[in-house]
Symmetry: D2
Subunit: 128 residues, 4 copies
């Protein structure tokens, strides 16, 4: 199972099977799953928290840390694909559409720094 | 681009291209990207926060909410695959390995409720 | 040390002393501390994740869970007051000002449900 | 209202009054409030996300950013004290007890770096 040969649909099937075999579906409301997702991401952040940005780059991570990060990323992805199963979302389509929206918003010929900043502070009203 | 016919590798390529065209790579240390991921997940939680678990189920969501949730999930996935690109992680392989680890931990013949509970409180030492 | 007789300033002093004694200040950039805070909140969410809203109410929590939740809330508060120390923020003043802003936004005579909804989805543009 | 003269109990009263006047208590199950808290912290992280640790230090923040951060910290504190009200937790006591637990765990005479690392990776089993 490699990225270049594995479809998103195939992974979703495997995850659906895993959940079904354990009868875990009953716990998996989208609300609860969104909390799980947040908890798992916090675990990923833990791996990076006390590193500088430079230390967090791939070549500078220890083997142990890299292994842990890989597992946490897998956990996040499993949870996210489980949510897609539960909500019947075609993730590839959703991503393709979102990339189009983003591409319109952040034209290639824009000043990249400003566009990046705008992307990430688009809230504006975020300063609540 | 549909889940049943789209490889993870294909989506990763599209995202890599998107980031490159905008020269955003310089902002994307794994540390910073893990923060972005946490921020995006918070936006997903916002959609579910004041709903009961039942109201958060697919058939009970309004069309507007469903659309918003779909976009937020796409954002999370784009960010996660971007991290995989940056850290050179084969996500399909990482997921397959993690599912094996999880399958050993949570045998099918275990009491499903206890196993689920154990899965999610495995910290134990979490009670800090 | 009880809420009705303990000033915020007093607690901030205790935390400052704790950090100083251990020479931990060097790790505590506001950026890193905001990540810690997110990680600690995820631990609090873990205690509520698989409960219904009703089960999460005080009278329905087990003694063990209540103790854990109390500790996690203390951790969050310690971290938050540490950030206030580091950024030299007078929290009581900041809260008083924010309550005024909120009071203007959410007038008492407004429809409470709508105001609550507005408060929590004020992003609008959040549907990214 | 200044930290050096304001008790935690006083602030809790003001928040309780604010919530009561708007009849928002019905929305505020501990589960939902823990999600709010996570969402508000994500907003705080947004302010630091693209800064280096150095840039996030108080003297290096822009006035606008500082104001926004102050408001977000107030929001987090208001939410946290609201949870204390809802769960009837005496925060000052909880903090005092937690500082004692932490002081036993991280003795002053320990190697500070190791103790700090241990504090923040205490999960051990975190490497899921």
């Amino acid at each position: 199972m490699e990225d270049r040969a594995t479809t998103v649909g195939k992974i979703k099937e495997k995850i659906e099977e895993f959940v079904k075999e354990r009868d875990w579906g009953k716990f998996h409301s989208p609300k609860n799953l969104s909390m799980s997702l947040a908890i798992e991401i916090a675990e990923l952040m833990e791996s990076f928290q006390w590193l500088t940005s430079e230390q967090s780059e791939a070549p500078n991570l220890s083997t142990g840390n890299k292994k842990k990060i890989r597992e946490e990323i897998a956990d996040i992805a499993i949870n996210l694909l489980n949510i897609c199963n539960v909500l019947d979302i075609d993730l590839s389509e959703a991503i393709a559409e979102k990339l189009l929206i983003n591409a319109r918003k952040y034209h290639i010929d824009l000043d990249t720094d400003k566009a990046h900043k705008r992307k990430h502070y688009k809230g504006g009203g975020h300063g609540r």
